[in-house]
Structures are given as structure tokens and as C-alpha cells.
């Protein structure tokens, strides 16, 4: 029992946190150099899952990709360290809570721990994403045509594509070039039919898929490429809800922490005055 307790304390040690953070910084510095010189090795990570990538590009180019494997190991270790350290402190805080003491005070004290748990939720999101996500690239659609998502009964149709071309004086370099594009899609999934407006940075969500506009044509009024089409990226990513939940939790924790920090700063100033 004593041994287990020792391990528990060691896993949550703050000095271990510092070592892991330093290790990750060093590793990321190496990664920066590798990404700069060998970006073509890492680009497929956007489209394939991590396991497929690791078995192919990762394994075959170990001198260039080892930093990413080390990073994942260090991240896993940091996740364990963060969980143990935070949980220990949360337990102590809750146990020390005096009866009748304002709940808001306790909530503010818990704000940094909320941020720590949020990081864990985000990391879980990444894990789920890299293990289970599916990406379908190069889905070309012409107006009036449809395509099926392989292995499903889902069908996407491009009803129309509206491109806005810039014609003002302010942005010389954009003259007669596309400044916005909106594609109207109809998605049929079994008996369910949904239509949506797709644009750059404006995906259409149709559970469990999301549709992203990668390219469209024609990009320019006076270019010789006049074909009208869109190029879609179709994603099925179950990790995103974890990731965005974690992000919201972190922002909530950060706001609470900054509020606490700011009120104590103001109180300190008043005292000094």
C-alpha cells in the first residue's frame, strides 16, 4: 500500500511536470526543424489516421519522424502527471472547504484545476481523432451532380455555386478575383434530407459528417480556367466534440482564474493606497 502511495505521489510530482515540459520543448524545437525541411512526410497526417501514418511514413523515415513519437510519449506521461497532480490538489481543496464558505470562492480556487482537466479532455479528443477519424479527399462536384460517400447511404449534391468577384479599388491584387464562394448542397442520408450553404471557413455539418470547401473554380473572372466546380473534404471525426468541450472548459477556467487574479490585484492596490 505504501509503495502504491509512493508511486502515486511520484507520478503527480511537480518536478516531473517541469522535466516533461522541458523535454517537450526540446523535442518540439527538433520537430520545428524537421517540419521545415521534410514537410511532405507530415502532410499525410492531415488525411490518414495516426496509426496508418506511423506504419508507413513514420516507420520508414524514423530519423525525421522520431520526434513525433517521442512527443506522443511525453504527452501521455504529462497527461498522467497532470491528472494525478490535479486530482490530489482538488481532493485537498474540497476537504479543506469550510462549511458555509462561499461556493464562488471555492469555484475560483478550482479554476486552475478546471484548466488542467480541460487539457486532458483535449488530449483525449486528439487521441480519438487520430485513431478513429475518416477523411475523404478530392471530392469534385459540378453543379447539378452528386456523389456518394463510400460504404454509406449518404449522398451529396451540389445544387448551385455562387461566386462573388472583387470589383472595388481598395484591394488591387484582388481585382476580378473571387472574394467569396457559397455552394448550396443537398445531403441525403437514408430518409433524411438536409440542405446547407457551404463556404470557405463555413463547413456544413450533417452528423456524423462535416463537409469542408477546399477549392472552387473559377477563381478569376478573366482566367482561362472557366470550369465551375467545387472540391470537398468530407470528414467524420468523433474526437472533435471532446476537443471543443475541452477548449470551452479551458476558456471557462481561464476567465475564472483571470477574474480571481484581477480582483486580488485591485484589492492589493487599494490596500497599498
Amino acid at each position: 500500500m505504501n509503495g502504491l502511495r509512493k508511486i502515486w505521489y511520484w507520478l503527480g510530482d511537480i518536478h516531473l511536470t517541469v522535466v516533461l515540459l522541458l523535454g517537450m520543448m526540446m523535442d518540439l524545437a527538433v520537430g520545428y526543424g524537421r517540419l521545415k525541411t521534410h514537410v511532405y512526410l507530415f502532410h499525410p497526417l492531415n488525411d490518414t489516421g495516426f496509426v496508418k501514418w506511423a506504419c508507413t511514413y513514420g516507420k520508414m523515415n524514423l530519423p525525421q519522424t522520431a520526434w513525433l513519437f517521442i512527443l506522443i510519449f511525453l504527452m501521455a506521461a504529462l497527461a498522467v502527471n497532470t491528472f494525478v497532480c490535479t486530482t490530489r490538489r482538488v481532493v485537498v481543496l474540497c476537504a479543506r472547504r469550510k462549511k458555509g464558505k462561499a461556493l464562488l470562492r471555492l469555484a475560483l480556487k478550482l479554476a486552475p484545476h478546471l484548466m488542467h482537466y480541460a487539457v486532458l479532455v483535449m488530449l483525449a479528443g486528439y487521441l480519438v481523432s487520430y485513431l478513429f477519424s475518416q477523411t475523404l479527399l478530392s471530392n469534385i462536384l459540378l453543379p447539378g451532380t452528386a456523389l456518394s460517400i463510400p460504404g454509406t447511404d449518404c449522398r451529396v449534391r451540389l445544387d448551385r455555386l455562387d461566386i462573388t468577384y472583387y470589383s472595388g479599388n481598395r484591394l488591387d491584387y484582388m481585382q476580378n478575383r473571387a472574394i467569396d464562394a457559397v455552394a448550396t448542397l443537398t445531403i441525403r442520408q437514408g430518409r433524411r434530407t438536409q440542405s446547407g450553404r457551404l463556404g470557405l471557413n463555413r463547413p456544413v455539418l450533417c452528423y456524423p459528417y462535416s463537409f469542408h470547401l477546399q477549392r472552387f473554380s473559377p477563381r478569376s473572372k478573366d482566367g482561362f480556367l472557366k470550369a465551375t466546380y467545387i472540391n470537398l473534404v468530407i470528414k467524420k471525426d468523433p474526437g472533435m466534440k471532446f476537443y471543443f468541450t475541452g477548449m470551452l472548459m479551458f476558456v471557462a477556467g481561464l476567465v475564472m482564474y483571470l477574474y480571481d487574479w484581477f480582483t486580488s490585484f485591485i484589492a492589493g492596490r487599494r490596500k497599498m493606497a
Binding site: 515540459l21 522541458l22 520543448m25 517540419l35 514537410v39 471557413n201 463547413p203 479551458f250 487574479w261
Partner: protein, 260 residues
């Protein structure tokens, strides 16, 4: 001369250097006036550059945006500062760093890249602005660290910790801004490409590394390495990291400024 022409930023850099010279000369009001004028010109220039990119983001112009945010941080210290020698030294150091950053922006601009359509979202703007502000605030930490390091070496631990309080405040602020920048970038990346991480840009590694750095600096007071000089030294190391991995990539090649 248009608001977006480099000449305006050149003038801002001149005012920043003037503020430094006045600060070294021991004037009290002159550095504030000159810094205020420099910031105003810098802001006008940024407005001009934004006008030439809007609704897209001038993503490659960080070399002009970061000095503005750093200058604002320096102004807060300078305008807030009581007549303490320490504060005068910190603001002097900040003005020196500000001048260097502004002149590197003048001679190594990276504004030859045009904005691209995918940056037409609020999240791209927030990613860019929060990132520049985060870096600016952290260079303030570096200014404090340079000045306080020799003092902290001689001071007792408790006195040293009190000295480092303002430095810690700027670290917290940089961490908050950097986090918001990363989150905005992740949202932008998801909306545009369908994934919060895009492995096409080496900056993804340094953005993560810098976040780890801020986390490390915020955790240091809880460790045995919490001595004031140790923390000041770590902050200096952090500034070097940001300089190499986050500031230098924002600069372009040497070019003689076209001022009009």
C-alpha cells in the same frame, strides 16, 4: 504618403528610438510623449495595412504588429511607473528592445506575401492579433528579467519573489493571450480544413512549444527552482526561445525600405 506605406512605420521607429534616447538622457516627460507619438503612428500604419487586407488577415505582417503591442505594454509600465530607479530601468530596457524590434521590422519586412482567402474569418484575425499581443507581453517579461536578474541574485528569496511579482503578472497575461491565439487558430483550422491541427506549417510545433514554455514558467514558483534569480533566468531563456522560434520566422529578407 499613404497610411500603409512603410514610411509611417519608419517614423514610428524613429519616435521609439527618440523615446529611448530621452529615457537615457534622464528626461521624465519626453519619453512618454515620444512613445505615445510612436504608438499613434504605428497604430495608423497598422490600420492602413489592415485596410489593404480586409476582410482577409494580414498574416505576414507580424513584424509590424508585435512592436505595437510591446510598445503598449512598455507604455503601461512607463505611465504607471512611480519614481523608482527599478521601474525606470525596466522601461528603459523595454524602449531599447522596442527600438530594435521596430528597426528590424523596417529593414526585414515580410510584407511581400499577399493575404489569402482562407484568412477571411474572425478566428484568423483573433489568432493573429492575440498571438502578436502574447509575444509583445512576453517581451515585457524579458525586460523585467534583464533588469531584475542582478538585483535578485543579491536579494533574499522572499524579497526577490516580491520583486518578480510584476514579471509574473505579465507572464500570466502572455499565457492567456497565447492560449486564446492557439484556440482561435484551432477553430479556424477546423472550419477551413476540417482539423484543428494542420501539419503543413512548422509554426504548429513552435506554437505548441511556446505554450509549454508559458506553462513551465507559471509552474516554476511551485517547485524547488523557485528562487527569484532562477525564475528571472528562466524568463530570459524563454525570451530567447520566443525570439528564435516566434519572432525571427516573422521577418523577411533584408531590403532597403521604400518609404513612400
Amino acid at each position: 504618403m499613404q497610411f500603409s506605406s512603410l514610411g509611417i512605420f519608419f517614423l514610428a521607429a524613429c519616435f521609439y528610438s527618440g523615446a529611448l534616447a530621452a529615457s537615457v538622457g534622464g528626461y521624465r516627460r519626453m519619453p512618454r510623449v515620444l512613445l505615445g507619438a510612436g504608438l499613434w503612428l504605428n497604430l495608423v500604419f497598422l490600420g492602413g495595412r489592415y485596410r489593404h487586407a480586409w476582410p482577409m488577415t494580414p498574416l505576414h505582417e507580424g513584424a509590424f504588429f508585435m512592436p505595437f503591442f510591446f510598445g503598449c505594454a512598455a507604455a503601461i509600465v512607463l505611465f504607471n511607473g512611480r519614481r523608482e530607479q527599478k521601474i525606470a530601468a525596466v522601461s528603459g530596457m523595454a524602449l531599447l528592445m522596442l527600438s530594435v524590434f521596430a528597426w528590424t521590422g523596417v529593414f526585414f519586412p515580410r510584407d511581400y506575401y499577399l493575404p489569402f482567402l482562407q484568412t477571411r474569418t474572425i478566428f484568423a484575425h483573433l489568432f493573429f492579433l492575440f498571438g502578436a499581443a502574447g509575444k509583445g507581453c512576453f517581451f515585457m517579461v524579458a525586460a523585467y528579467a534583464v533588469v531584475l536578474l542582478p538585483i535578485c541574485r543579491q536579494a533574499e528569496d522572499s524579497a526577490g519573489a516580491a520583486l518578480l511579482r510584476p514579471m509574473h503578472r505579465w507572464t500570466v497575461l502572455s499565457f492567456a493571450l497565447w492560449t486564446l491565439s492557439i484556440f482561435s487558430g484551432a477553430l479556424w483550422s477546423y472550419l477551413g480544413w476540417g482539423s484543428p491541427v494542420v501539419w503543413d506549417d512548422p509554426a504548429i510545433a513552435t506554437a505548441m512549444g511556446t505554450w509549454m514554455l508559458f506553462s513551465l514558467l507559471l509552474h516554476l514558483p511551485l517547485t524547488k527552482l523557485r528562487s527569484a534569480s532562477g525564475r528571472a533566468f528562466a524568463a530570459l531563456g524563454g525570451a530567447l526561445w520566443i525570439l528564435i522560434f516566434n519572432w525571427l520566422p516573422e521577418l523577411g529578407q533584408w531590403s532597403f525600405p521604400k518609404l513612400l
